[in-house]
């Protein structure tokens, strides 16, 4: 084939007439890269893949974001069963020990969920699960709420957790970290709703979306893990985007990048890991005012 191509070009180049009729130009390096990127890996069995990235940012000294990504695919009698647990928690800096809160949140939620689905990992005798996905996530969040109030009273954290089982994602969400679905055609769909004052004011029509961008109290949350006696997390189940990506990130990412930036960073990358790196770099290039955390997951095959 190679030989044939060389033969073809060798024969054609000198021919002026051929150049006159052919209205083509060689592909740029970027275009070739784009084509390569679009050739997604394909396996005969459906599986879940994921990658993540983190940075302390350019203006903070401490990282208070915690992140967890667990990905597995188990064979089952109704086909391959992808399992994934993805969590981003952004501890609150104005409070004492946001990092204690965010790591307690991640550890507790993941511990609860993994014990339910993978008891063998903990040397626990497996039992039939008689809770629904939404109940498991709710209970995990409740346990995390208690853990934070015990370990770091007064502190708080956001929590955006996605439990992927099969082709369903069950989310538990508190605060202003976000989950997005990003489609190959460039559409982005925010999946979570920020529990922030500024978002609520926008919803109520007291400020416009433009005003929201520059609102002085952008970081004030009205719901956070570890805060308040009655915690009402948003818990819901949606289908995994196919084709498409699940992205979970802290406000250190979405706060500085536009949705077009997100799409571009992902589409220009050859792998999920590269995409995460590009996203973190882009957020840092935009000033990196806060800690940055991002997780990308994709169902392939």
């Amino acid at each position: 084939m190679d030989k044939f191509l060389r033969w073809l070009s060798a024969n054609r180049r000198p021919s002026a007439s051929a150049q006159d009729v052919a209205n083509t130009a060689p592909l740029s390096e970027q275009q070739i890269q784009a084509i390569v990127n679009n050739q997604n890996p394909h396996f005969d069995l459906q599986q879940l893949i994921s990658a993540s990235g983190q940075s302390v940012g350019k203006q903070r000294e401490l990282n208070e974001d915690s992140l967890l990504a667990i990905t597995m695919t188990a064979a089952g009698n109704s086909g391959n069963l992808p399992f994934g647990l993805y969590i981003v928690a952004d501890g609150m800096g104005g409070h004492q020990f946001g990092e204690v809160a965010s790591s307690a949140a991640i550890r507790t939620v993941a511990g609860y969920v993994m014990r339910k689905f993978h008891p063998y990992l903990f040397h626990i005798k497996p039992e039939t699960i008689d809770e629904s996905f939404q109940e498991i996530m709710q209970n995990a969040v409740n346990e995390a709420q208690r853990a934070i109030q015990r370990e770091a009273p007064g502190s708080g954290t956001t929590l955006t957790a996605a439990l992927v089982i099969g082709q369903q994602i069950t989310f538990a969400h508190v605060g202003d970290s976000r989950a997005y679905f990003i489609y190959p055609d460039g559409r982005t769909e925010p999946i979570t709703r920020d529990h922030s004052l500024v978002k609520r004011l926008e919803e109520l029509g007291h400020i416009t979306a433009d005003e929201a961008v520059n609102y002085p109290h952008k970081n004030v949350l009205y719901r956070a893990l570890g805060q308040g006696e009655v915690l009402e997390p948003d818990i819901f189940t949606v289908g995994f985007p196919q084709p498409g990506y699940l992205m979970i990130c802290s406000d250190g990412l979405w706060g500085v990048l536009t949705e077009q930036d997100l799409v571009r960073s992902i589409n220009e990358s050859s792998s999920l890991q590269r995409a995460c790196q590009n996203l973190v770099n882009a957020a840092n290039a935009a000033g990196g005012p806060d800690n940055i955390s991002v997780i990308l997951a994709q169902l392939i095959g």
Partner: protein, 585 residues
């Protein structure tokens, strides 16, 4: 984080002097966090010590021992308002709430006029207001941080749901306490907990729409306290107190009885026509080319002119017909308690073929992929070839199948009386199964994302169609045999507690509920923006499907257990009074 003990003050050994000892356990592993907690605690103690008001508990002492700090306070015999609200099942009388409100304004006024600096309570909410044995209010828990920390990422101090918009921005003013008092009164008057609602949404839940017993004057005062902009609220607590006193004067006389519901049409609905069979109609009808088909316990399947109810023909079986007929390719398919699936010509009512099972049939047929699927009391799910009328396969179930099979993509889903639920492929092979605690009599509705069905175990389930995992469960008040109805993002289902529930399909949160006077065993249906559902109380209800508001109801002479059918702006519903009714939708 803390407990409160009832204790006896042993400084006075000859009398029983009860005190409350508030304990705070410092569990924080980090020394800096621990120190802050102790400081907060001591600040509360010092603040309380300077205050003298009948609605503020007196402080006797405070001390810290190792990781525990204690505050010794006046013991209050009573309950907090949140407990009072939860423990009563109906609305509290307005006059009682009004008295509390006036006393609360009084103590807020005292705090706000404190010298040298006004004290902002910042945490007004039902659980922080005690009602003592005399019925007077006492403000408790001054323990929250008194300065809002405007950190890099702040969170609210104060209680979410009760706090005003500006408090989240870090501004604490007397006006914030007035808002929170308004929020507290709103909660008490409506019994709707604002912590479970989006912030600042009180005005979206008008008090008198939820509790029509409240006077409009009272509602006006609460609404003013809840104004979004601080300058629109009462300027001071004493102004609010004055307004409340005015309300007390106006409503002091017995409040005139007012209608509790809006204009609801209950009597004016007349059926377009009705048709009487010889026995109960418990199933649902079907319509095809202007003809209505319905089965009856009198063993017949009836064909009626849908426009005027005129009798066309009837087809006798040897058992009651409770299944919903299905019209396909010019033929009507339906099962009968005579153990047979009957296939008759839709036009003439002449038999085309019949198919025998070994038990009565209560499961309605489902037609897909050249086959008719249905269950029988013989503990099988049957798949019968449409052309030949012969069995393609049958799938053994653990008990009788009363539910209607549901087909999506390439699987057939069916529940049975043992509580087992099966996903079977088109070859009759089991793909997965699920087990509910009790019978699954209701049929399934669903999408490629989720299957919805209810069970006699009082649960509405959402299952993943691919593998049978439970996505969510919604608790119903009582067992249900009502097949859900799915419209946009709402799942509607009835239960034997007489309630029609609307549940959000993504979040499994209740959107609304509507109470009928008896069991709801039939399935709701939605047409345009109305939901239609029958009840054993004999009524067909028409509700606004997004809100559950009653539009009208129509009383039949007997229980309605079947599902209505809406076609071309006409609702058809059968009743156990032996009649089928046609009503304008």
């Amino acid at each position: 984080m803390g407990s409160v003990y009832r204790a006896r003050d042993m400084h006075f050994p000859n009398v029983t002097k009860l005190v409350a000892v508030k304990e705070m356990i410092n569990t924080a592993p980090d020394p800096l966090v621990r120190e802050t907690i102790v400081q907060n605690f001591e600040r509360e103690a010092n603040l309380l010590a300077t205050l003298h008001h009948p609605a503020i508990p007196r402080i006797y002492d405070y001390f810290t021992m190792e990781s525990r700090s204690y505050l010794v306070l006046e013991f209050i015999l009573g309950k907090d308002i949140e407990a009072v609200v939860t423990e009563t099942s109906s609305f509290l009388p307005e006059s009682q709430v009004l008295n509390w409100a006036i006393e609360l304004c009084d103590v807020l006024d005292y705090l706000h006029k404190h010298k040298p600096d006004p004290i902002i309570f910042r945490d007004m909410k039902p659980s922080n207001v005690m009602i003592n044995h005399n019925g007077d209010v006492i403000l408790v828990d001054f323990g929250i941080a008194k300065t809002f920390q405007t950190g890099i990422k702040g969170t609210m101090i104060g209680t979410e749901g009760y706090s005003p918009p500006e408090q989240y921005r870090g501004e604490a003013t007397p006006s914030a306490d007035i808002y929170a008092l308004g929020a507290t009164l709103h909660h008490v008057l409506t019994r709707r907990d604002p912590r479970l609602e989006p912030p600042f949404s009180f005005l979206e839940r008008p008090i008198r729409r939820i509790n029509p017993e409240v006077s409009s004057e009272m509602e006006e005062v609460v609404n003013r306290a809840l104004e979004y902009n601080p300058e629109d609220r009462f300027p001071t607590a004493s102004d609010m107190k004055q307004a409340l006193t005015q309300v007390a004067r106006k409503t002091g006389a017995p409040i005139a009885a007012r209608p509790t519901t809006g204009p609801v049409n209950t009597g004016g609905i007349k059926p377009l026509w009705s048709f009487k069979c010889e026995d109960e109609i418990r199933g649902a009808p079907a319509i095809f080319q202007g003809v209505l088909y319905v089965g009856s316990y009198d063993n017949n399947l009836y064909a009626l002119n849908a426009a005027d109810g005129k009798f066309q023909w009837k087809y006798p079986t040897d058992g009651g017909v409770v299944t919903r007929p299905v019209v396909f390719d010019g033929n009507v398919f339906f099962g009968s308690q005579d153990k047979r699936l009957h296939v008759v010509s839709a036009r003439t009512g002449k038999v085309v073929w019949t198919y025998y099972t070994d038990g009565p049939i209560h499961s309605s047929p489902r037609i897909a992929e050249g086959h008719v699927f249905f269950g029988s009391d013989d503990n099988y799910l049957h798949a019968v070839n449409l052309n030949s009328g012969r069995m393609a396969w049958r799938f053994e179930t653990a008990d009788a199948v009363h539910s209607t099979p549901f087909v999506i993509r390439d699987l057939v889903y069916v529940g049975c009386e043992s509580g087992d639920y099966y996903a079977v492929d088109f070859r009759g092979d089991l793909k997965w199964r699920f087990h509910a605690k009790r019978a699954i009599t209701a049929s399934t509705v669903g999408t490629e994302q989720a299957l919805y069905f209810s069970s006699l175990d009082s649960t509405l389930y959402a299952l993943d169609p691919r593998n049978g995992w439970v996505l969510w469960r919604f608790r119903l008040g009582k067992p249900s045999i009502s097949t859900p109805c799915l419209v946009e993002e709402l799942v509607f289902v009835g239960a034997s507690d007489g309630i029609i529930y609307a549940v959000e399909s993504r979040t499994s949160k209740e959107a609304w509920r509507f109470k009928t006077d008896h069991q709801v065993n039939g399935s709701p249906v939605v047409f345009k923006d109305s939901l239609y559902c029958g009840s054993v109380d004999g009524n067909l209800y028409c509700l606004e499907y997004r809100t559950g508001r009653l539009r009208w109801k129509f009383n039949t002479g007997g229980a309605i257990t079947g599902t209505p059918l809406v076609h071309d702006d006409i609702v058809y519903v059968g009743s156990t009074d032996h009649q089928i009714y046609a009503l304008l939708a």
